[in-house]
Amino acid sequence: MNIVVCIKQVPDTTEIRLNPETGTMIREGVPSIMNPDDKSGLEAALQLKYKYGAHITVITMGPAQADKVLREAYAMGVDRAILLTDRKFAGADTLATSNALAGALRMLDFDLIITGRQAIDGDTAQVGPQIAEHLDLPQVSYVEGLQYDGQKLFTIKKSTEEGYQIVEVEAPCLITILSSANSPRYMSVNGIVNAYKREVEIWRFENINIDEHKLGLKGSPTRVFKSFTKGAKIAGQLYEVEAVEAADIIIEKLKEKFIING
């Protein structure tokens, strides 16, 4: 079985803080990580590999620094890594991103494509299903778990607001996975050592056979019209007091708001 996992390098947005004066984000010093949902996608692929045998390719689209997450993937146990990078891909919205990734995927053999449900720096959850559409593949999103019959059939647990669904789909297909699906393994020590000896293939515009007008900023139907901060909100009252006094202040406020009787 051939599995391709799409991953993304993202800033660890839980570490981003706001400048209290301007309301803008302070991004300096924020570490880059493998997107958590994608990492679980990688783990799901590795579990299939060790149970049934599989060849795993990881692919990412991004700047040269994204090499780092591909090395991490090598250290976790993947077989091949591709960095899709070209100035022509820059400024892409989700549709243009999915065009580029789908173009690269068409060059590869796959029975299963795995993406994370969404990336923590954009939270759109769009690229996975858009890739599936370009490749005319069935999709299952919000995947919490999957089983494989060793032949062709996947039985998948899909999360919903009210619980879950069990669905069935045959390869080839695309799934988008949740980080709650599993606990990704750590990189092995040998893996880390070897990861830097492995080849990360660099693929550029010339490698993917997609019209230039479908890529990057040119290929993006959506644009940022303006961006703004909400401004610093009028500061509320801030108290640094003993716990007992703090409790009294809160109780007064709750009375004022008619939450409790006073």
Partner: protein, 332 residues
């Protein structure tokens, strides 16, 4: 593309087991406001099986026309049949705007639809408006330096956006409103139906809808453990609140996802929101900053949560809350 051919606002009406979801009614209300500015009409797109009787509800909430596709293929949501049905409708009728709830269903359908229609899609919008050039202005939280971004889809139609449940306000139901119901027949290509739903399970964990709570007691890393959440439970019960949380606690397995507030969780706007031991990551703020009154307790004086709090207490949650519970009990 001749944009002038594209007219009217279409709302995808999400139903589960024949029950119209609130988000659809919220979107209809917003659609009416946008349609007024554009001088266009609002259409509700109702897909399902034996669901015709739901049309009057949609008209009462603002739909001028309900397009009803009643087919056994659409009984439960499944990506391909729903995408085929909506694609056919959009190609035949050419709306300028399509609004979809950003639920697990909408976030599965939206991107598939946008890729098939080769048009733009903006996810999880928190604000929608119309520009002077009659374009849809779609505002959402962003991570590019500024906290919010307004997105436009200039040269492609329809302009599609998903909107989180609870963000737009539902209008008043007005049974005297008049509207039309049109039945639409879809020519399905069943050879593409490849995902089979074996079963759909409802779990008890999801019976709580924190978006409906008037008071929320929300815990984060500073609360720490399931022990800490038991304390929050107790506090919530004393003041008639529901317990919710930040993502950190969901990831740690302390609390279930349905209680998560934030960009990837739920958007809430209760009368009073307690942010307890929550530092205030931007994703969390995006989900709660519209609350009427925010009370935050955090050890870190510089925690960003204090920037949105109306009442901030620098201190230890695990000391203050037990005291609060005690005092509230005495007061009764």
């Amino acid at each position: 593309m001749d944009k002038s051919q594209y007219k009217n606002i279409y709302v995808f009406v999400e139903q589960r087991e024949g029950v119209i979801q609130n988000v659809a009614l919220e979107l209809l209300n917003k659609a009416c406001e946008l349609a007024d500015k554009l001088n266009e009409e609002v259409y509700a797109v109702l897909l399902g099986y034996n669901i015709k009787d739901k049309a009057p509800l949609l008209i009462a909430h603002g739909a001028g026309t309900v397009l009803c596709v009643d087919s056994s293929e659409l009984e439960q949501y499944n990506t391909e049949p729903y995408t085929q049905a909506i694609t056919q409708i959009l190609n035949d009728r050419k709306p300028s705007v399509v609004l979809i709830g950003a639920t697990t269903i909408g976030r599965d359908l939206g991107p598939r639809l946008s890729a098939r229609m080769r048009t733009g899609l903006t996810a999880d919008c928190t604000g929608l408006d119309i520009s002077r050039e009659s374009a849809l202005l779609m505002t959402r939280p962003a991570f590019g330096g500024n906290l919010m971004a307004t997105i436009i889809c200039k040269e492609h139609r329809p302009q599609i956006s998903t909107v989180r449940p609870g963000v737009m306000l539902k209008g008043k139901e007005d049974p005297s409103r008049k509207g039309a119901v049109e039945n639409v027949t879809i020519n399905f290509d069943k050879s593409k139906f490849k995902v089979r739903i074996l079963k759909t399970v409802k779990e008890e964990k999801n019976l709580i809808d924190i978006t409906k709570a008037r008071i929320l007691v929300s815990g984060g890393r500073g609360v720490g453990s399931s022990e800490g959440f038991k304390m929050l439970d107790k506090f919530a019960k004393t003041i008639g609140a529901e317990v919710s949380s930040s993502r950190a606690m969901v990831d740690a397995g302390v609390i279930t996802y349905d209680r998560q507030v934030g960009q990837t969780g739920k958007t809430v706007r209760p009368d009073v929101y307690f942010a307890l031991g929550i530092s205030g990551a931007i994703q969390h703020l995006a989900g709660m900053e519209e609350s009427d009154y925010i009370i935050a307790i955090n050890k870190d004086k510089y925690a960003p949560i204090f920037q949105v709090a109306d009442l901030g207490i620098v201190g230890n949650v695990n000391q203050i809350i037990p005291l609060l519970i005690e005092k509230l009990k005495k007061g009764k």
